[in-house]
Every structure is written in structure tokens, then in C-alpha cells.
């Protein structure tokens, strides 16, 4: 049985935010809600800057499920964590429980009104008829029922973001790491141009 997961390769992510845009566009996510976002650490520090794309990680033992007072979460046969917006009371417990900050709350109303929770669905819709208008309006597109993978992963230009069956994407990532090496082997002058000094051409002229 497939167990759907995301895997982010920090060495490849170029902080283009293509995944964020793809998600927003594919699911018509409202203003103020970001199901996916790119987080950068050591911004501007050469060699130390890393970015990763973060959304719901569809945990195997999801803390949001554990703390929800109305039990509106469920896990599909493929390991995708989804929730029923008809039951959600917008309390925000899941937001505090989630280590990734995945649950989002629309705040379009007056007095800081907190709406029903919205989060990444792994492009698997929700508890409405598959590929129906009702499902699209509440949860976004159901790409899994179209035989497709999440839009963010399929759209990623550098394939830093992999999405799909955990075993398969782990194999892809493992093969990649073995081929390219790790740490400083991955980037820098030597990797790009071969051994030799920066600025010194093969013929002795710079």
C-alpha cells in the first residue's frame, strides 16, 4: 500500500516559490491562507543558505488528529491526513500541535474572526464526492483521483520537492545523493568547473 509523503531536498531548492504558486493556483486557495511556503535559513550567507518547502507532512502519527476536540481528521488508505470542514470549529488546537505550522485559518471576517481550518490535502480533496464542485470549493482539486501527484511536486523546476509514495521518493533521493555526493561536494567551483583555481583558465590566461 502506498504511503504518500513529501521529501524536500535542501541542496536543490532555489527558493523560487513555484510550489507555493502552483498550490495556490491549483486549489484556488483564498488570500491569507498559505498551504505551502518556502522557509530559508542563513539568508544571504554564501554556502550556508538553505531553503525548504514546508506544508502538511501527512504525519503517520499526526498530532493534529490527536488534539482535535471534534475529531474531524481522518487518514486515507494512502496515508494522507485530511479533515472535514463541516465539523471543524476553527478552535486552532491543531495549529498549536503541528510542528510544521501547516493548519491555516482564514481571517477575512470582522473582529479577527477565525474561520475553519485549511491545510494541504496532498491534492486529495476531502470528504465530498470525488472531483465534484463541492469538493473543489471546500478542499481544492483532487489530483490523486485524476491519477496525478500534488501540483507543487510536479511543478517543482529543480525537483527539490518530491511527492508520492514514500518508498519511491526515498529511492529517488537516495540515488541522487549517491551520484552527486554530499556537503561541499555538491556546490562550489570544483564541482562546477573541475579541479583548478578560480579565475585561472586552462591556457594560463585569465
Amino acid at each position: 500500500m502506498a504511503r504518500m509523503k513529501f521529501l524536500v531536498d535542501a541542496e536543490r531548492c532555489i527558493e523560487c516559490n513555484g510550489c507555493v504558486t502552483a498550490c495556490k493556483n491549483e486549489n484556488e486557495v483564498p488570500w491569507g491562507v498559505n498551504r505551502r511556503r518556502v522557509v530559508t535559513i542563513n539568508d544571504g550567507v554564501i554556502g550556508a543558505e538553505k531553503s525548504i518547502s514546508v506544508a502538511c507532512m501527512h504525519c503517520s502519527d499526526a498530532p493534529c488528529m490527536a488534539v482535535c476536540p471534534v475529531d474531524c481528521f481522518y487518514r486515507t488508505d494512502d496515508g494522507v491526513v485530511l479533515h472535514d470542514k463541516d465539523l471543524c470549529i476553527g478552535c486552532g488546537y491543531c495549529f498549536y500541535a503541528c510542528p510544521f505550522g501547516a493548519p491555516q485559518f482564514p481571517q477575512a471576517g470582522a473582529f479577527g474572526l477565525r474561520g475553519k481550518m485549511d491545510k494541504c490535502t496532498f491534492c486529495a480533496g476531502g470528504p465530498e464526492a470525488d472531483r465534484s464542485d463541492a469538493e473543489f470549493k471546500k478542499y481544492g482539486r483532487n489530483r490523486l483521483a485524476e491519477g496525478k501527484l500534488p501540483a507543487c511536486a510536479e511543478m517543482c523546476s529543480t525537483k527539490a520537492l518530491l511527492g508520492g509514495d514514500g518508498d519511491v521518493i526515498a529511492d529517488i533521493y537516495r540515488e541522487r545523493v549517491v551520484r552527486r555526493g554530499k556537503g561541499s561536494e555538491v556546490w562550489g567551483w570544483g564541482t562546477a568547473y573541475g579541479p583548478g583555481k578560480a579565475g585561472a583558465a586552462a591556457g594560463g590566461k585569465s
Partner: protein, 84 residues
């Protein structure tokens, strides 16, 4: 006389029906999902070919999984581009 009794009985039944009230509150069961059941992706029919979805037999989980698996492998550019 009989008609009047019947009419009265029908009226009483109608009146009582008005008093009926269905539950408007969810009965919670601790730790169990309380929402609507969700469909499974392989129970949908595949998309038309020009929409570039996967191809599987409707309702067949294993064929859906193999279609998705094939799509999943296209994320490996060593295989997709260089065919190594």
C-alpha cells in the same frame, strides 16, 4: 361519523409529526472520526487522454497504484532524461 374520526386521527398524526425533532448536534465518540465518509481515488474514472491523468481500471486499486507509481518515477531525472 367514521369519516370525522378518520379525519381527526389524520390531523392528530400530522400535528404530532410537527412536534418531531431530529438531532442537530453531532454525537461525539472519543477518538473516532466523526465526519462524512470520503471516496477512494481509484473509484473515479480516469481522465480523458488529453488531460494527461493516469490510466487505470475504475475501482481497481492495484492498477491505480501502478499508474501513480509510474508517474512518481518521472520525478527521477536520471531515469527520465538520461534513461540510465
Amino acid at each position: 361519523m367514521k369519516r370525522a374520526a378518520l379525519a381527526l386521527a389524520a390531523l392528530a398524526a400530522l400535528g404530532l409529526a410537527g412536534c418531531g425533532e431530529s438531532d442537530q448536534v453531532v454525537v461525539y465518540k472519543q477518538g473516532k472520526y466523526q465526519g462524512k465518509p470520503d471516496g477512494r481515488p481509484w473509484d473515479s474514472a480516469p481522465l480523458a487522454q488529453e488531460q494527461r491523468g493516469g490510466t487505470w481500471n475504475k475501482g481497481d486499486k492495484s492498477s491505480w497504484e501502478s499508474a501513480l507509481n509510474a508517474r512518481n518515477l518521472t520525478q527521477n531525472e536520471y531515469k527520465r532524461i538520461y534513461n540510465q
